[in-house]
Symmetry: none
Subunit: 219 residues, 2 copies
């Protein structure tokens, strides 16, 4: 249970609730690309390694990324049935081979009902997700497409830990909620500007400072 010590609530759990948590949480592995959540109520998922991606679908069937859940983050949506007031219609997929922990809905509910520290933790994570989605909405409404694409490339650079991103135009389009063609055109433009170099199945960032300038632009 060493992994959970990083979460404030864990150290604050009284012995019986700690036992309830430890006795019910279990290790799960998800392969890259595996669908983790499709509406069934799994419970709370703690990401230990890898990354999950919460997305929704347009009625055209296009994927729209809501937010990403890297290591140390928690997936609340997969416990929505245990969250009063939640009415989500989203999916969660593993973006990388992911090592995680699942706390099933029932013990999740009991902990939220009995532990102030745990309830505060859920509250704080939900506020983060609400902030994420509002930020995304603001970006969609206010930011130019080239600025959003530049910001996404910089975010992916953080995940990849380098300038060479193994990412298809389809994935980038899904994260931006747009069409692949639009992404391909803009990437070609970026390449013409010397910001990136395109290679088979990926993008290499050549001018990070330039992308950062672009990402900070507004409409």
């Amino acid at each position: 249970m060493e992994f959970f010590r990083r979460f404030s609530f864990y150290g604050a759990l009284e012995p019986d609730l700690r036992a309830l948590f430890d006795g019910n949480v279990r290790a799960r592995r998800f392969a890259r690309g595996e669908e983790v959540y499709r509406g069934e109520c799994a419970g709370l998922i703690f990401v230990q390694r890898g990354r999950l991606c919460a997305y929704t679908l347009s009625d055209a069937g296009r994927e729209i990324t809501l937010y990403r859940l890297p290591a140390g983050e928690v997936c609340l949506l997969s416990a929505s049935c245990a969250l009063a007031g939640a009415d989500f219609d989203v999916f969660v997929r593993a973006e990388e081979d992911t090592q995680a922990w699942l706390l099933p809905s029932e013990p999740f509910r009991r902990l939220a009902e009995r532990s102030l520290a745990f309830s505060a933790f859920v509250n704080e994570r939900m506020a983060r997700r609400l902030s994420d989605v509002m930020w995304l909405l603001d970006g969609v409404l206010n930011k130019k497409f080239d600025a959003r694409l530049a910001a996404l490339l910089l975010e992916e650079r953080g995940y990849a830990g380098g300038d060479r991103l193994e990412l298809t135009h389809e994935r980038l389009a899904a994260h931006l909620g747009t069409a692949r063609e639009a992404v391909s055109r803009m990437l070609k433009y970026f390449e013409g500007e010397g910001l990136v170099r395109l290679h088979r199945g990926g993008v290499e960032l050549l001018d990070v400072a330039g992308l950062e300038r672009l990402a900070s632009e507004k409409k």
Copy 2:
């Protein structure tokens, strides 16, 4: 304090916390059109009468309604400084003359830290708002859906030969090849915009011109 008995947390507060709540909450009135929240941290606002509207702005200055807060609802955003993890950039305005109660940030924070019932209440309301904003985001990224629903309502109007359509949400969803929930939420949004009125087993069209404008919108 009669008003607060409708909220589950209120009856569950221990005497000292009840006293903390009663001793700090105060009546507020907002005139129709008055800006209630512009980023300063007021605290938690309980709507007793009237209606508040949380919105964001596009750079073009266009207002985008995030959600409405009718009587009995609670405005969390105005207490965001007391919500760990919250990082919102929204505004709140009174849509009608509104009678409300304000619980300032500091007692709000203390109650959330000390009362499980209050923390659970905040959690539940935040999950509702997250659901609202996710749905709105989906609509914004997928504008075609509201246009298609508006077009369908106008088509059904032709069949019905009048503005009162006896049509279940299931039927409309079937026509659109989408989920009933999506239709129900969009119809609620239309109702909030004054385009339709929902009644048992049907929809009454109130603003045909508005629906026609919407139906002609391209993505």
